[in-house]
């Protein structure tokens, strides 16, 4: 079902063409409020029938069948997209990164595969490519055999892809698992790398039936090579959401229709 631009789309700049081209998006969530729905919404946007964009999805958290089921309810058939070469689903559930040959870490190999896939998919004109990772904490666990710092190196190299191929990078990470750890800087590194940070958190007042949480979107942007085009730089927006059976409803506080 085609939907009009909602608050999340506006916050991400979807009132302009290809706003995420060359950008890094970080979705932060916590135990109380999962941010997976943002990932699903963005998947549906990328695989919209009105564009030829492609998606490379690195799944560390759940198998293909889970995402297929969820996206079907949103009106998107992942199997068909796979067949059409618009979706490359990389099942990383059984991934174990170990130091391979020539002292190259597992994540380095993973990056080279992604780079190769991006170059292959990029052969189609006017095609935007998005790389999604669900989620970074599990990538870190998979990579601990080598060096967890390699996860940050992996992110850096993915960032170079956004410059080289103008693709987008969307990652999901859990904010609260780092709060008591010795390396809160790990999360901060990702926030610094991101151009857009979307934070999903519960309401300050606790659980509610008709409001399932709030989203804060920080669109940092950077100096634009397009002279003065767009006004999405340094915008911070906050709004609430309600997860329905076939979609998500976004609204400002106090404006819920229910």
């Amino acid at each position: 079902m085609d939907r009009s631009v909602n608050l999340l789309d506006l916050a991400l700049g979807f009132d302009e063409p290809s706003p995420l081209r060359g950008k890094v998006v970080l979705i932060e969530d916590c135990v109380e409020t999962s941010g997976s729905f943002v990932l699903h919404q963005m998947m549906k946007r990328v695989l919209s029938p009105h564009s030829s964009d492609a998606l490379i999805f690195l799944a560390f958290a759940r198998p293909f069948s889970h995402y297929d089921r969820v996206l079907r309810k949103l009106g998107c058939n992942l199997s068909t997209q796979k067949t059409n070469n618009r979706l490359v689903f990389v099942d990383m559930l059984m991934m174990k990164c170990s130091d391979g040959d020539d002292n190259v870490s597992g994540v380095a190999k993973l990056f080279r595969e992604i780079q190769g896939t991006v170059r292959k998919l990029g052969n189609v004109t006017n095609r935007n490519i998005t790389v999604m990772v669900d989620d970074m904490s599990l990538l870190e666990i998979a990579a601990t055999n080598s060096n967890s710092d390699h996860v940050l190196d992996f992110l850096h190299y993915c960032h170079t892809l956004t410059c080289e191929s103008n693709c987008s990078l969307v990652t999901l990470n859990h904010e609260d698992i780092y709060s008591s750890m010795e390396r809160p800087a790990y999360l901060l590194q990702m926030v610094c790398l991101a151009d857009i940070v979307i934070k999903a958190e519960p309401l300050a007042s606790g659980l509610a039936n008709d409001v399932h949480g709030q989203l804060t979107v920080v669109n940092k942007g950077m100096i634009s090579s397009k002279s003065g085009k767009g006004s999405s730089r340094n915008k911070l927006q906050n709004f609430q959401f309600r997860i329905k059976e076939n979609g998500i409803e976004y609204f400002y506080p106090g404006c819920s229709r229910s």
């Binding site: 190259v104 380095a108 990056f111 080279r112 780079q115 710092d149 940050l152 190196d153 850096h156 190299y157 170079t160 410059c163 080289e164 904010e175 709060s179 809160p184 800087a185 999360l187 901060l188 590194q189 926030v191 610094c192 940070v197 934070k199 804060t216 920080v218 940092k220 942007g221 950077m222 100096i223 634009s224 090579s225 002279s227 003065g228 085009k229 767009g230 006004s231 730089r233 340094n234 915008k235 911070l236 906050n238």
Partner: protein, 374 residues
């Protein structure tokens, strides 16, 4: 004020002294060091091209953005860089810092070229040599100098220890042909000792602070980002200059970041401080402050008793001296009660004021409420 930084970088240091060095500090809540770096880059480039700078070349070392980003930015500012440009060299430590990408050549590419790829950023000695070689390609081996700009040392600090990075920057400052250098750092990503160490080896420190700075702690820094609301993109820009004789000069401006970059404006100092103070007074329907006329009138009021300033010395009975006999009688006072003994001495009415507090012995441990009859 940002011009002051630029002028110091442009003019370089005196002969025999270490090159002036600038640290640009940003935080998670004010992540605009890139904008400041780009501002300085554009101005330095213009002055080099115009022949107004002590340095005749610029070596740009990129860690956080691709070389093409900076070249595109300079083009937008009217500074076109081509492969035949002899005043700028770019050392690319962004594209493949760890050698993950299979390239035909390994290590630093040979031969004069605008952009050189560096595939091993953890080898700081090699990095130092690459910077100097790139500079000498432009200006030769003589006394001509060049400036060095490092877009970010965050990645350097991830791959190398603090002493090594400190050593690299100090070596660059000490090199006779380096006229000036600057780098940026995100203070939330590193321990305080790292920030302090870099501040020690720099002659200027510029830091970007949001309007609502986080008190401490990295977790607060993250929360602060989301609490910025409509002030995100605005804040204060503080610069600290270390002068040769040891004095420190601090200047501040306000910054505002938009699509074109960072814009700096002076803080509307005293008036805004006063205005801010005034704005703290709650807005009610009556006056909480005195007007000028009221203040003058208040000063004219003659206060009774001991505060009468007739020009003669005011004598206050303090309760400790023995009074003249028959004139007055000091009686114990209950707290909160004034006693005025009117003594008739034939001269007319007179009020002698006994202070309540004088009945207490100094350092009395008695509870003053003991005599309450509750």
């Amino acid at each position: 004020m940002a011009d002051s930084i630029f002028r110091k970088l442009r003019d370089g240091g005196e002969e025999g002294e270490l090159a002036p060095a600038l640290t640009i500090e940003e935080t998670v809540a004010s992540p605009f060091a890139l904008d400041v770096s780009c501002y300085l880059l554009a101005n330095l480039s213009s002055s080099i091209l115009a022949g107004k700078s002590k340095s005749e070349g610029l070596v740009l070392v990129t860690f956080s953005r691709s070389p093409s980003f900076y070249l595109q930015f300079l083009k937008q500012k009217g500074i076109v860089v081509s492969s035949s440009s002899k005043w700028i060299r770019v050392l690319d430590c962004y594209t493949d810092p760890l050698g993950w990408i299979d390239q035909p050549s390994t290590g630093v590419t040979e031969g004069p070229s605008l952009v050189k790829l560096n595939k091993c950023v953890s080898d700081l000695k090699r990095l130092f040599s690459s910077v100097i070689d790139a500079g000498r390609e432009m200006v030769g081996d003589g006394k001509t100098r060049f400036s060095v700009a490092i877009d970010s040392v965050n990645e350097l600090l991830r791959h190398s220890s603090m002493p090594l990075v400190s050593g690299l920057l100090t070596d660059l400052r000490s090199h006779a042909q380096v006229s000036s250098l600057f780098w940026s750092l995100n203070t939330d990503l590193h321990q305080e000792k790292v920030t302090n160490a870099l501040e020690y080896i720099s002659t200027m420190k510029a830091n970007l602070e949001p309007f609502c700075p986080s008190p401490d702690g990295k977790r607060n820094a993250l929360e602060n980002l989301f609490l910025a609301h409509q002030d995100f993109g605005k804040g204060r820009f503080h610069v600290r200059f270390k002068l040769r004789k040891g004095r420190v000069r601090v200047m501040s401006e306000e910054y505002h970041v938009d699509q074109t970059g960072i814009n700096l404006s002076p803080i509307s100092s005293a008036e805004s401080v006063i205005a801010a103070t005034k704005s703290l007074i709650p807005k009610v329907h009556f006056n909480l402050q005195l007007s000028e006329k009221e203040r003058v009138e208040k000063e004219k009021v003659i206060l009774p008793f001991e505060h009468q300033d007739h020009g003669k010395s005011t004598e206050i009975y303090d309760g400790r001296r023995t009074l003249a006999d028959g004139k007055t009688e000091a009686t114990p006072l209950s707290s909160g009660e004034l006693q005025a003994d009117v003594v008739s001495s034939g001269k007319g009415g007179e009020i002698i004021y006994f202070r309540d507090s004088d009945d207490e012995h100094p350092d009395s441990d008695e509870d003053p409420d003991d005599d309450l009859d509750i």
